[in-house]
Amino acid sequence: MNLTVNGKPASIAADDAISVSNLLETLQVAQREYVTVELNGDILDRDGFDAATVRDGDTVEFLYFMGGGSL
């Protein structure tokens, strides 16, 4: 399954769909308790990570409130 993750192509060992929780685990996303997930431009509810599904061709962004922005 091919995705665009944080603007870069990413290949995931999954057939056609996995949950966002699963994706966070698979990609070993850092500090998962804080991460915001944007799926195809929509911000997901934190408690919806199990239910939300990522499919081939989707665009996923991981965002953190800790850093970023112009200094």
């Binding site: 944080n6 603007g7 850092a30 500090q31 308790e33 804080y34 915001t36 911000i43 509810d45 934190r46 962004e61 991981f62 965002l63 953190y64 409130f65 800790m66 850093g67 970023g68 922005g69 112009s70 200094l71």
Partner: protein, 417 residues
């Protein structure tokens, strides 16, 4: 927050909560005294600035030593996130400015630390933010003072130096009913007397310079986000983009990404390390601070030359009942006493040999000060009265020395008045 924090009792959490193993098996996060952090590629730094990746960039924004303390303080207060700052005043200023805008109003307890009073009454007033002060024991007056412009309710757990103890849960109920957050300065009570989140505090602020640091070796502050306030509110349109992206982290996100970053009152890594050292022994020290304060209060209350003693742990204190319930039988390490007049107060201070005459609380050492001529000297008689500061009043921050030596020091100085 932090897997290790769950299920631990409070004293254990002070030591282990929110901690992570250090490099080389170190049991401490080292003091990373570096202003900025380098990356191999331009792409990595781009991701960090876009908030797509997590990592250190610049110490004003974040630093591993600061982050380690933030996670520990969040765990101790049962919060979802914390921000450490250069001082307690920096914590209050940053947290308040993250919430209110020009035209907004703060509803505050009148019984405040002098610096906070000055911030609210004078400094913020110059930026179009009005503060209404109410007697924190008059809950009807508090509820009646809420209006359409109110955006924040502020209170100290134990008024410094008034030593009054407001009912925090009642404050929280009024804040909740009014749709505004409750910010609680828990410096004097410390997390040892109460986790104010449980009482309904949405945002907790501390001057870590005091009991949390504990040995008076550095100035610091902290903001802890309980994660309880719903920022998805028409009263807070400026939180909308942060709520949309970060949901219950909206307050911490707005504070970090905007206010804390722009005001720049970041803590120094060395100071954060020292605060973390203090945090480990907070419970042990507070137990002794409380026990010693109760002993000294009892001694002073029975002394013929002492006109009155204000300590919420004395059964005849008007705040005994609420303090006893709210703080589960612990009353803190600060008390005030009244003598005949200002010259007697000065003679007492000058006669003490162990207790140090200085402007601080929360040290291992017993400290005294005459607030009317020092930390509250700039205020009018009217304001001093509001703060409970009179000419004959001496404030004592009771240390963790042997209580017999503290009592003997006061006994000798009182005998020689």
């Amino acid at each position: 927050m932090g897997e290790t924090a769950t299920g631990m009792r409070f004293d254990t959490k002070l030591i282990h909560g929110g901690t992570a193993p250090g490099p080389y098996g170190a049991t401490k996060t080292p003091i990373i005294q570096s202003s900025a952090f380098a990356y191999d590629t331009a792409e990595e730094l781009e991701d960090l600035f876009k908030g797509r990746a997590i990592g250190q960039v610049y110490t004003r924004i974040g630093n591993p030593t600061l982050e380690a303390l933030e996670k520990r303080l969040a765990a101790v207060e049962d919060g979802i996130a914390a921000i450490v700052t250069a001082s307690g005043m920096a914590a209050i200023t940053t947290a308040v400015m993250a919430i209110v805008r020009s035209g907004d109003e703060i509803l505050s307890s009148a019984s405040l630390f002098g610096g906070t009073y000055s911030l609210f009454r004078d400094t913020l007033a110059n930026y179009g933010i009005t503060t209404r002060f109410v007697d924190p024991t008059d809950l009807d007056a508090l509820a009646a003072a809420v209006n359409d412009a109110t955006r924040l309710i502020f209170v100290e757990t134990i008024g410094n130096p008034k030593m009054d103890v407001p009912d925090i849960a009642a404050f929280a109920a009024i804040a909740q009913k009014s749709g505004v957050p409750l910010m609680v300065d828990a410096t004097v009570s410390t997390p040892y007397l109460a986790r104010v989140k449980e009482l309904g505090a949405d945002i907790v602020v501390h001057s870590t310079s005091k009991f949390i640091n504990g040995t008076a070796n550095s100035i610091g502050g902290a903001i802890i986000d309980s994660g309880s306030f719903d920022w998805n509110s028409a009263k807070f349109p400026h939180f909308e983009p942060f709520y949309r992206k970060y949901r219950n982290f909206a307050f911490t996100a707005r504070t970090r990404k905007l206010i804390h970053k722009d005001f720049g009152a970041c803590a120094a890594p060395l100071n954060a390390f020292l605060v973390g050292e203090g945090l480990e022994t907070l419970a042990l020290r507070m137990e002794r601070h409380c026990a010693n304060a109760l002993k000294l209060a009892g001694f002073l209350a029975a002394h013929e030359k002492v006109a009155w003693v204000n300590y919420p742990g004395l059964p005849d204190s008007p705040f005994f009942e609420v303090a006893n319930r709210q703080f589960q039988g612990r009353f803190g390490g600060v008390l005030t006493l009244g003598l005949a007049d200002k010259p007697s107060a000065f003679r007492l201070i000058n006669g003490l040999k162990l207790a140090k005459n200085l402007a601080n609380i929360g040290d291992t050492k017993t400290l005294v000060i005459h607030p009317a001529s020092t930390i509250c000297a700039d205020y009018s008689l009217e304001v001093k009265a509001l703060m409970g500061v009179s000419e004959e009043l001496v404030r004592v921050s009771v240390g963790i020395e042997d209580a017999r030596d503290i009592v003997a020091d006061f006994a000798r100085a009182l005998d020689n008045l």
